[in-house]
């Protein structure tokens, strides 16, 4: 009998791609691919730790991209959904993709393909929302700072957007849930891990981390938001559909509502 192996990786996307490389290269019968901090030993499988290897990861990345641009972004987006068991699903997706001759592997009647596409779409939507709903606050150190708490791990996806847009100001976007941030130092964006004591959502109490001017602009924006409302056209259902309540605590225009 062919024994199966659980591959354990460090949780990074490159780590995952390395695991895929190893599995293909060594023709491993893969039982599961798991992050090293949440491994559960299978009863009938051995486990093997995979060390992230950027070159190997790159080869898998290029292999997928050469098949289809659409697929490579689906794989990356779906991975960032952090859905339990997504690694195995992606593994089988990549296997199917590699087997097809023509690159346009888009048979949505296949449940794996459909599922990956749906996950990627959800993550894409969250990315778009974060580009809209990030609210920077100016700190006394002259850094524009924002907290976010997205459902999915979208920081890597929004980094370029903010770098292109805010090329002349220092900024830091911090993911409260995942406890890391991306910081732009006027030259490039780097990943930073911080352990913040204070989470700055839009409380009415002022923090002395921020400039006094900061609160003036928040008030102006908050007022502006109120005056855009046309009472005779009000539609709360449509409103919360566009701005789901879970985002409100980080939106300065929603201060009183929180």
């Amino acid at each position: 009998m062919n024994t199966s192996t659980t591959l354990v990786y460090d949780g990074s996307f490159n780590g995952f791609l390395t695991a895929v490389f190893v599995a293909f290269d060594e023709k491993i019968n893969v039982a599961d691919i798991q992050k090293n901090n949440q491994t559960q030993s299978g009863l009938f499988s051995d486990s093997e730790t995979v060390f992230t290897h950027v070159e190997k990861a790159k080869r898998v990345w290029n292999g997928i991209r050469n098949k289809s641009n659409n697929a490579i972004s689906s794989v990356y987006f779906a991975f960032l959904s952090e859905t339990e068991g997504v690694e195995m699903m992606l593994y089988s997706y990549i296997q199917k993709l590699m087997r097809t001759k023509n690159g346009k592997y888009l048979d949505y009647s296949d449940p794996t393909v459909l599922h990956i596409a749906q996950l990627a779409k959800k993550v894409g939507r969250e990315k778009h929302r974060m580009e809209a709903f990030v609210r920077f606050q100016l700190t006394k150190d002259d850094i524009y700072f924002a907290n976010i708490e997205p459902d999915f791990d979208v920081l890597p996806l929004i980094s370029k957007h903010f770098r292109d847009r805010y090329a002349d100001q220092k900024w830091l976007i911090y993911d409260v849930k995942r406890k890391y941030g991306i910081y732009y130092n006027l030259d490039h964006v780097e990943m930073v891990s911080l352990n913040l004591k204070d989470i700055h959502h839009n409380k009415t109490i002022k923090s002395d981390a921020f400039t006094t001017e900061e609160y003036e602009y928040q008030t102006l924006w908050n007022n502006y938001f109120k005056s855009t409302n046309i009472a005779s056209r009000i539609n709360p259902k449509l409103h919360t559909q566009h701005v789901p309540k879970r985002y409100w605590k980080y939106l300065s225009e929603k201060k009183e509502a929180v």
Partner: protein
């Protein structure tokens, strides 16, 4: 900056600007190549939504709500008793920059009441845009509302700094304009439009030869018409719209249901309902004209000067033209497919792709996203069942209405009285 004063001004001047609906931030592509602030992306981003569910992507304000004119439909009109305020050029610049840096907005939509003269006002609007671009290195979106009657020179300058320009004609008929905006002449609107159109054409052709030619109003022009203020028919509105699309290459025409803001015997009284359903029908019609290959005369004409309120304009057209149907989805060309009620342009292209592999049946069509509730009466596919049998238009309409719960169904009952 004196924040208390700014706050008062902002309250007044944002409130007065909110009735302008032409505030999309899309359609431009100003990239941040100077290591400055911002870029305008083709898609545009809504940063938040008003309580009525409309996208907020731009800081939309008036430079001032002082006005020497007296247009009946306007809150800012001279005879209206409201608090007045005016921003300084630098104040608008600071607000825009500081809101933009905090990721509140995609850019600025700046409009104004007319103080002193059209040119005097326009000059200031241009000064704001110029400052933003040249002093602040700002690459975000700027939409300037042109002041009716502004000179060619100023319109020319405006287009160098703004992404989009608009002149709101507001009243779709010349007679209505005379009645409701006695200070304005039709040419006051068309002259600036003509100028901008010509410059856009000129710059585009120059750009083909000299790559470094700067951009001129890259997101084009738009205009807005108020709906339900001057007793005009849907036909009047849409024929005007078509004229402006053709003659001045409008990117968009917006339709804005009239919100009664002043008591005036020429207008619906305060408290009258905003004709939102009608507004929606006009947008649907606009859509059919721009993307579905319909011509205006097919939808609105002497016999049908107004759109149906109970069904959308495409269904309404189909019910009047049953002789085109049923269409065979497996063979019909793109143009005909697009005319089937319940089939959108996205479905059209999916159908054309999918039917290369197999003949499509009801199940396939449902998966593609066709609204069969409407479509079933107007088409045949790979199936023996064909729903229309020998139903006439009234019966089909009745059956569709019985099975639909459109987003305006609830309002329909209260809206009805407005349109009878």
């Amino acid at each position: 900056m004196n924040f208390d004063r700014i706050r008062d001004k902002l309250n007044i001047l944002a409130d007065a600007a909110k009735y302008d609906v032409s505030c999309a931030s899309s359609g431009s592509n100003r990239t941040n190549s100077n290591k400055g602030l911002g870029n305008a992306s083709k898609m545009g981003i809504c940063h938040t939504y008003t309580a009525d569910g409309r996208c907020v992507s731009l800081l939309k304000i008036l430079l001032t709500n002082h006005c020497i004119f007296d247009c009946a439909y306007c809150v800012t009109r001279k005879s209206n008793d409201v608090p007045r305020a005016a921003f300084k050029v630098q104040e608008v610049v600071d607000l825009t920059i500081n809101f933009y840096r905090r990721n509140y907005i995609e850019g600025l939509f700046l409009s104004s009441g007319i103080f002193k003269s059209a040119d005097h006002t326009m000059e200031r609007l241009v000064a704001v845009a110029k400052k933003l671009r040249e002093e602040e290195n700002f690459n975000g979106y700027i939409h300037l509302k042109s002041i009716p009657g502004a000179s060619d020179e100023l319109m020319y300058e405006a287009g160098l700094y703004a992404d989009r320009l608009s002149v709101n004609i507001e009243v779709p008929t010349i007679s209505g304009l005379k009645l409701l905006a006695p200070d304005k002449k039709h040419e006051d609107f068309t002259k600036p439009m003509e100028k901008v159109k010509n410059e856009i054409v000129r710059y585009k052709s120059e750009r083909k030869i000299i790559k470094s030619t700067p951009k001129y109003a890259p997101a084009g022009q738009s205009t807005q018409m108020i709906v339900g203020a001057s007793g005009e028919s849907d036909k009047d509105i849409m024929y005007s719209a078509t004229y402006y699309y053709k003659k001045y290459h409008m990117k968009r025409v917006y339709y804005s249901g009239y919100v009664p803001v002043t008591q005036d015997s020429r207008l619906p009284s305060i408290g009258s309902e905003v004709p939102m359903l009608r507004e929606n029908r006009l947008y649907q019609t606009d859509w059919l004209l721009r993307f579905y290959g319909f011509s205006i005369g097919e939808i609105l004409n002497k016999q049908h000067p107004n759109l149906d309120m109970d069904v959308d304009p495409k269904l309404s057209w189909a019910l009047r033209n049953l002789h085109y149907f049923p269409v065979d989805v497996n063979t019909a060309d793109k143009r005909l497919l697009a005319r089937i009620p319940g089939i959108g342009m996205q479905s059209v292209s999916k159908i054309i792709k999918a039917r290369k592999f197999r003949k499509l049946n009801w199940d396939h069509l449902k998966k593609i996203g066709v609204a069969l509730n409407r479509a079933q009466y107007f088409m045949v596919c790979e199936s023996r069942d064909w729903e229309r049998r020998d139903l006439d238009a009234d019966k089909i309409k009745g059956m569709i209405l019985k099975n639909s719960k459109g987003k305006f169904r609830n309002q329909y009952s209260t809206q009805l009285s407005l349109f009878n």
